[in-house]
């Protein structure tokens, strides 16, 4: 008997012995958030929750202000080189005067490690938790390594990507591709359960938030 057959047989026997009636799952929790998707209130709450977990949030009213905001953040960080996914809107980088390395063909890990920052878009953001999600198959977000290895991540989020709650976010996402849920810069609570920001993932996280201020 293969391990597969034996494990499944054991589990079947045990399941039948212990009862095989599935309960109905009560879905009385909130499946739509308290704030309307894309609303000024949702964007404001996202600003708060991102900031609470030590992401720096830069609010801009319109898409036109994005290039200036990105350039200012990168200048402030002293980033002389950045990596961007192949599908990042070219207009976003027009004000940045450092070196732009496009990840297509893919950069090596060593190249990524030698790059100061990464600029990406985001698939969806969750105002309640201060989270944004990167979809590796989205052209403006790129494969996972590019937003991981550089020590500084700049993420541009549009108001229409902002939802209030976790259920609303999952409903917008396709699980087939790799997804990364990001809530602040990397952190650890492993020393006396005190939170310290900045470990292996990017130690600096800037979010450019486009929408009503």
């Amino acid at each position: 008997m293969t391990a597969r057959d034996e494990v499944l047989a054991r589990l079947r026997a045990a399941r039948d012995a212990g009862g095989s009636t599935s309960p109905a799952v009560p879905r009385e929790y909130r499946r739509t958030g308290t704030l309307p998707p894309g609303s000024a209130a949702a964007v404001a709450r996202l600003d708060e929750t991102l900031t609470d977990y030590k992401a720096a949030v830069h609010r801009v009213r319109t898409e036109d202000e994005v290039p200036g905001a990105i350039a200012a953040v990168l200048r402030d960080a002293g980033a002389t080189s950045i990596v961007v996914p192949a599908g990042l809107p070219a207009a976003w980088l027009t004000a940045y005067d450092g070196e732009v390395r496009t990840d297509g063909p893919p950069l090596s890990v060593a190249d990524l490690d030698a790059t100061d920052a990464v600029v990406t878009g985001g698939a969806v953001a969750i105002a309640d938790t201060g989270t944004f999600v990167l979809d590796a198959r989205a052209p403006d977000q790129g494969r996972r390594a590019i937003s991981l290895v550089p020590d500084h991540h700049v993420c541009v989020l549009r108001a229409d990507a902002v939802v209030s709650s976790v259920p609303e976010a999952l409903a917008r996402l396709d699980p087939d591709g790799p997804l990364t849920f990001v809530s602040g810069p990397s952190a650890t609570s492993d020393i006396e359960l005190d939170r310290v920001e900045g470990v292996h993932g990017p130690r600096r996280l800037d979010v450019v938030l486009v929408g009503p201020v």
Partner: protein, 495 residues
């Protein structure tokens, strides 16, 4: 040093892995209770995390509804476990992953060792994983000449100091910052000799220590927080980015998960991704959650293996109530609120699964072999105070399971113990009113011991345990029933 007596972890001789310690809970607790540093570290850490958890749970007005959904989702999974696993296998395979099945810890370790050897790698990077701690994978890899590098900060601390994990979330919760600094100074070859005990500096030392390893790793090994049956999606919830490194940069990824970690559909994660971070690290959301489905061309490991582990879980599933223990999402909230855990720490439980959930999970996974089985002492390591149930994000009725496992421990008595004799005598007296009042008259003889107003000691082993720290009043001159009878007589006489 609190734990050096445990020595180097060795390859588990038990095919179950690290699910059973070598001494009973009271014996291990005796040492822990006397360790001032340990008591201080645990008290501080658990107090901190309790406050954080309470604050973020308080923000969620549908928390109880989420708990109930989580409870029923897990009950549903248990009722359909074989079918869901077959579905998971099919969906992972369809997306380019390879699924393996392991009857026990030994078999899981063998599968992983073989897979690593096929790649030719002699080093692997690991994301913190309870499943591979359970199987003792690192020791098995070590025996095959493969170095397993733990990358989670707390797990790294444990590994560098040849220690054992004492908590699900923070395996080094029993260490404070200055102990951690000392470990780093001693064990990290290239560490800054001026390292201070500031947590930020310690985290930076870990980053520097692991950076090259991450960037050159060929094989990553992880556990799984959730596996979605219908989409074949695996999820790892973490904070430091070490998980992302291990899941993204190597060519080969091997994930080992207990069969119970499954959820039916992608949208079911909407419940658990709310329950887990708030219960675990006391955050609205942990810094990083990664999800992936099989292999994605051009992104991440191009070879993905998923090892599904039974290792006693089918024993647990067979119990209609006991299977609730398999609902656990390893958040560690029950540990953090448990007054016993807070005082003894995780090592006292022997098994890799400590605290209230460990006390009901470990003896069910291994079974209880007899009165001398150390795991039979675990269900008694609780006052049944119920704080664990209130904190559990999936509403596992741990107090009930503790009672049930105590019954299992009693059932495993192959010969009558002193406790059996005492309980039988008490039951016999209590089932019969006449014998009960006779017993009360015997108790009253205790008045002879308490002429000073308090009793300070009484012979007998159980009594010694009580009177070690507590007095007892002398029995009353008149029991309640005597008082009642006297009052009734007086009333009758009056009328």
């Amino acid at each position: 040093m609190t734990t050096t007596h445990l020595g180097m972890p060795t390859v588990a001789s038990d095919p179950h892995g690290h699910l059973r310690g070598t001494e009973s809970f009271p014996v291990a607790a005796h040492r822990a209770l006397a360790d001032t540093q340990l008591r201080q570290n645990l008290g501080h850490a658990t107090r901190t995390i309790r406050a954080k958890r309470a604050a973020v749970v308080g923000e969620v007005d549908d928390w109880e509804e989420l708990r109930r959904a989580g409870e029923c989702l897990k009950a549903d999974v248990m009722a359909r476990l074989p079918e869901l696993l077959e579905q998971l296998e099919a969906s992972v395979t369809a997306r380019g992953g390879v699924v393996h099945w392991a009857r026990d810890a030994e078999e899981a370790n063998r599968i992983v060792v073989d897979l690593v050897q096929e790649t030719g790698a002699d080093e692997v990077v690991k994301v913190k994983s309870m499943a591979t701690q359970e199987t003792g994978l690192n020791e098995a890899l070590g025996a095959a000449g493969i170095a397993a590098l733990e990358t989670d900060l707390a797990e790294l601390i444990v590994q560098l100091s040849d220690d054992r994990p004492s908590h699900f979330l923070v395996p080094a919760i029993h260490r404070n910052r200055s102990e951690i600094r000392d470990i780093f100074l001693r064990e990290m070859p290239d560490v800054d000799p001026d390292l201070t005990d500031e947590p930020r500096r310690l985290a930076m030392a870990a980053r520097a220590h692991l950076r090259r390893k991450f960037l050159s790793a060929r094989v990553g090994i992880s556990g799984a927080n959730f596996a979605v049956a219908d989409s074949g999606t695996i999820s790892v919830v973490e904070s430091e980015g070490n998980g992302r490194m291990c899941l993204t940069l190597p060519d080969t990824l091997i994930t080992v998960m207990g069969v119970e970690k499954i959820v039916p559909t992608w949208s079911d994660l909407e419940v658990f991704l709310q329950l887990l971070p708030r219960s675990s690290t006391g955050e609205r959301m942990n810094p990083y959650t990664s999800t992936w489905s099989g292999v994605t061309p051009g992104d991440g490991p191009q070879t993905f293996h998923l090892v599904l582990l039974d290792n006693g879980r089918s024993n647990v599933l067979a119990s209609p109530d006991g299977r609730q223990a398999l609902h656990c999402i390893r958040c560690s909230a029950c540990l953090n609120v448990c007054p016993v855990y807070e005082r003894t720490g995780g090592h006292a439980y022997g098994s890799i699964y400590p605290g209230p959930i460990g006390a009901v999970l470990s003896p069910q996974l291994t079974g209880i072999s007899g009165p001398d089985d150390v795991n039979a002492s675990l269900p008694y390591a609780s006052t049944l105070c119920g704080a664990c149930f209130d904190a559990c994000p999936v509403r596992i009725d741990i107090p009930h399971l503790l009672v049930q496992q105590r019954a299992a421990a009693v059932d495993a008595h192959t010969r009558p113990t002193a406790q059996d004799v005492a309980m039988r005598a008490a039951a016999a007296a209590m089932a019969t009113p006449g014998r009960f009042s006779l017993a009360e008259r015997v108790v009253k003889l205790g008045r002879l011991l308490g002429r000073s107003g308090r009793i300070r000691s009484v012979p007998g082993p159980g009594a010694a345990a009580w009177f070690g720290a507590r007095d007892m009043p002398p029995p009353p001159a008149e029991t309640f029933r005597e008082w009642w009878a006297r009052r009734e007589r007086t009333r009758r006489d009056r009328t």
